[in-house]
Amino acid sequence: MTETTDRASSIDPAPPSAPSPATDHDEGEALELLRAILLEQSRARMVELQGEVNRLQHLLEMLEEQVNDDDALIATIQPVIADAISSSISDSRDEMIEALYPITGRLVSKAVTEAMRDLVRNIDNQMRNAFSLGGLKRQMQARAGGVSQAEMALRSALPFVVEDLFLIHRDSGLLISYLARTGHAQSDSDLISGMLTAIRDFVQDAFGRGEAGQLEEIDYGDLRILIEAGKYAYIAAVVEGFEPLGYRGQMRDVLYRIEHNHFRHLRRYDGDATALASAQEEMRTLMVEQLRSRDAGAAAREASRLAEQRRTAWTPRTVFFVLLCFVVLLLFLWRMWSLFGAAFDLALLTDLWTL
């Protein structure tokens, strides 16, 4: 720029003497014309660059907005991350498995443990009821109803009542939704959810030792609190009795649906549960289905009868004791026979002959 101006100055043939006003004007115009000719390209380039700067500035503002807006940022980078993960998995499967093992291993272990627990319950139940009258009756009912005998036995033998259901915000412990079996809302449900969260946090801090485990169940007398936690919320079910097969899975499904449907509200939960009202309907499936599927009184009586039956039944220990007594008696009789048997027999035969 300076160079161009200098060049223009050097071309300018202005005389050193004082010029007339008309000459000045002409010279000024000529200088402007010369400037326009010489600087035209530079000016055009400057306008072009200014436009480019404006465009980049606009782009930068948009990017800033997207970075500050978590939702927009997630929407932007999600496809890229998904592609990157897919590509990494296909390119280096072993490394990915190794990296994810601490997470997947724990998940698999938890699922297997849960499945094993269900299986043990199922087998135990079948063994206990297989040869009883009730068992035979259930076999017939199961055949008629088209379900397995195990499911039939479980249904009638294990009482299960869901007393309360809490949907609680995971970080703050604020109650999002609540359902009670009786239909009457418990006035302290928000306090209970707060304390329950405090207990969860306490257990995690005291025993978690930096691992990703969590409190899953609390037992108190006949009541148990089953806890299923998601990323932003958790469900606590206050139940009586043993949950049927798959109930925990059902809890997980409901929680997953709630978190999926209300992701934005849960992520930045501000204490206003109005927007999450529909979550209660999802929760109701955990309550109503269980209540419909059983007659609590009949099941409790059945469980009591089975317990009594177990108490009075011939356990292996009883059978062994009776057999032992029988063997001891036989040995005693054999010994007596060997000592006095011959003489007794001879006398008896003589008497019979005489008669």
Binding site: L174, D205, A206, D272
Partner: protein, 179 residues
């Protein structure tokens, strides 16, 4: 109804539990504070909401029904891991010191630092408790106000014993959490 979580922080025996007892509905016993380190209480109240954009000259919005879940944390000398998990998700916090013990005031900045490390956007109120012990004051209200001003937070001189300014303080914080 809007629910908000509030935490009370401060050294041992500054009167946190007494402040809560003055103000709230209790269901659980205080023994939980020493066993698991926290007790949750609740206070329901109605406060003036945040003014709507282009609202009236009064600067107040429609009344809002609020439920404050107040987490009374056990006071200790250091901010341990347990307490960090307890303040998670809090919308408000009350930093409490004892006006008769200066060292309880000196420890407030540390509580604040640890608190904002977990919940950066938390609303804070600074409270000097035991104003009824007039002859034993080791801290002036001005010092409390200066400290609170640095945090752009309200300062309150309260007495859990007489109830002075306890209600005002909780209401002020409740309103602040709505904005």
């Amino acid at each position: 109804m809007i629910s908000k979580k509030i935490c009370l922080l401060g050294d041992f025996a500054v009167g946190k539990t007494s402040l809560v007892r003055r103000f709230v509905y209790d269901r659980f016993e205080d023994k939980y504070i020493s066993t698991i380190g926290v007790k949750v209480s609740r206070k329901s109240l109605v406060v003036a909401g945040a003014p709507a954009s282009g609202g009236g000259a009064s600067g107040q919005g429609a009344p809002v029904e609020m439920s404050l879940l107040i987490w009374d944390l056990a006071g200790s000398e250091e901010f341990d891991r347990v307490r960090a998990s307890y303040v998670r998700g809090a919308a408000g916090a009350i930093l409490v010191c004892d006006l008769t013990r200066r060292q309880t005031f000196d420890s407030l900045p540390q509580y604040l630092t640890d608190l904002t490390a977990v919940v950066p956007d938390v609303r804070v109120a600074v409270v000097g408790n035991k104003s009824d012990l007039v002859d034993e004051q080791a801290l002036s209200p001005e010092e409390l106000t200066t400290f609170a001003a640095q945090l752009e937070a309200p300062a309150y001189v309260t007495s859990a014993k007489s109830g002075a300014h306890v209600d005002d303080m909780f209401r002020h914080l409740a309103r602040a959490m709505l904005t």
